[in-house]
Amino acid sequence: MSTAQKTTYREAVKQAICEALRRDPRVFLMGEDVGHYGGCYAVSKGLLAEFGPERIRDTPLCESGFVGAGIGAALGGMRPIVEVMTVNFSLLALDQIVNTAATLLHMSGGQFNVPIVIRMATGAGKQLAAQHAHSFEGWYAHIPGLRVLAPATLEDARGMLWTALEDPDPVLIFENNTLYNMEGELAENAGPVDIDTARIRRPGRDLTLITYSASLFKCLEAATILAEEGIEAEVIDLRSLRPLDDATYLASIARTHRVLIVDEGWRSGSLSAEISARIMEQAFYDLDLPVERLCSVEVPMPYAKHMEEAALPQVDSIVTTVRRMMHHG
């Protein structure tokens, strides 16, 4: 048994990148301000000195250009980690991600796979307003040909990258920007983790909370409060948004018969809508009451703190919704 060490989410991502760079000469990190600046969220601070400018490659501000170049480099035998500063900026590279990375293998009849990893910060909570703080990971999860990951825990922040780099196809990793400072303990020998399955982060018999990324911790906190009232919520961390691990949450619903989906994305046409539909299709008769969802209010993210908080699912709203659902039946 190895000893656990105190660390942060940021440090876990950084260690994952360092390990990948040391293990595989084909790996390099590319993006805006990843080198001399040290990364917008300081994830790559210090890496330039260790690995040099070829492998810690600062790019101009041209998301489409450098994401496309990452795709080409992957075709050419490299294993690029492309960092896009925030999910909103990734829309400038949407064409390359959706029209090229996700389609090349198919269009070429299986000849050209694209082993690229694209990381980006996502999510609200830091008063970054309407052009830096949305949650578009659900959009990307719509696209066949992409794999979409949302590491919430330190283990996943540390372990998903290497598994993603070993994947032969494009993998998008969404890091919620409110998690970078999260502290916790991580085994000294923490390493690769699977990127296929959802995890039960807290078992419970009464109701299933399905969530991912930063909302996981709001759900866990809500579950603690609810437990004091005798309500045992089971908390499921999706981890992979595409493909979805249906089996894990369906098995949970078969035990609890009640489900609330907590998703920081907007409600309409969202990932939560997809999960809800799958539950209707596959577990309708397991349900004691309709599937419910807590999503972001459908408004561009406001700047003012109280308004931003009101726009997002919060511990309070989760607790209130679960209480109401439990009194139903």
Binding site: S64, G68, G70, G72, N99
Partner: protein
């Protein structure tokens, strides 16, 4: 002069004839409803693909556009596999998943068949970046039209390639129209080669109807790239004799203009030169035509005899199939 080395010139003439006859047959098969979707013909622009390919080696890469039958044939992909692809047959180069606009071939390092205008340029930069980081002496050629020059990806890719001194040969096929809108309505500065200077990139413009000139210019560009001097922008001034696609009534240009450009047909230009130099007789040309016609007929027969991929396989090639 290399361009008039007989065997070499005859090979180039044969390639241009093959592209021409292959595409004439493609249009025919389109009307016969054997080929569907969009079909963009290269007729008139053959000298560009043939001239540039002559300057590339087998290890080099090609990134092309949706108007890429010419590049694919000149690169050495078989007429059979391309025709079968356009028929949608599983024997096609992409198993019928791509069609006319998406030809790919790992064996000849042919990376599409990219149908988002400008989208192939960053891809070419990345392929060259991979070569540069792995110390491989290769050139990535990237074909695109004058329409792509207005896209952000053009400028982003030019900047990245020049900034990192990557071995990319950017080949702009300037046929004067972005689909049906003339360059003068879309570009503030219509001198495309001049745009290289904005990125500190070597550039030249060449008569894209003259295969000898295109090859010579491409060789200069490839030498520059192979000497480690960074990327190169080659503007080939050419003209598309046929409509943009099969759904184009050509309201945007006059018949006189098209006829004027046809006077400079790249095939007839080369034939004229060879005949003048005493390197090609009427019967030799007839023999070439005969050979090419047979190859095109064989491609049609191959496509006709091809099979449809099983519908059960529909969801293959979305993600890589792993060995169990």
């Amino acid at each position: 002069m290399k361009g008039l080395d007989k065997d070499h010139a005859i090979r180039q003439l044969r390639q241009m004839l093959l592209i021409r006859r292959f595409e004439e047959k493609s249009a025919e098969m389109y009307s016969a409803m054997k080929i569907r979707g969009f079909l963009h013909l290269y007729i008139g622009e053959e000298a560009v693909a043939v001239g540039v390919m002559a300057a590339l080696g087998p290890e080099d890469a090609v990134v092309a556009t949706y108007r890429e039958h010419g590049q694919a044939l000149a690169r050495g992909m078989s007429a059979n596999s391309i025709m079968a692809e356009m028929y949608g047959k599983v024997e096609g180069c992409c198993r019928g998943r791509g069609g006319s606009m998406h030809l790919f071939d790992a064996a000849t390092r042919f990376y599409g068949g990219n149908a988002i205008v400008g989208g192939g340029l960053p891809l070419a930069v990345g392929l060259a970046l991979a070569d540069s980081m792995q110390d491989r002496k290769r050139v990535t050629s990237c074909f695109f039209g004058d329409g792509a020059v207005a896209e952000g990806d053009f400028h982003e890719a030019m900047n990245l390639a020049a900034l990192w001194k990557l071995p990319v040969l950017f080949v702009c096929e300037n046929n004067l129209y972005a689909m049906g809108t003339a360059l003068r309505y879309t570009e503030a500065n219509q001198d495309i080669a001049a745009k290289g200077a904005a990125y500190g990139m070597a550039a030249a413009a060449v008569d894209g109807m003259d295969v000898v000139a295109v090859e010579a210019a491409a060789r200069v560009a490839v030498d520059h790239i192979q000497a480690g001097k960074g990327p190169y922008l080659l503007e080939c001034r050419t003209y598309r004799f046929r409509p943009h696609s099969m759904f184009d009534t050509e309201l945007y240009r006059t018949k006189e203009e098209v006829e004027q450009w046809k006077q400079r047909d790249p095939i007839e230009l080369l034939v004229g030169r060879l005949t003048e130099a005493g390197l090609l007789t009427e019967s030799e040309r007839a023999a070439l035509e005969h050979e090419v016609a047979a190859e095109v007929e064989a491609a049609v027969a191959f496509a006709e005899a091809g099979t449809w991929e099983a519908v059960e396989d529909l969801t293959r090639f979305v993600t890589t199939e792993r060995r169990a």
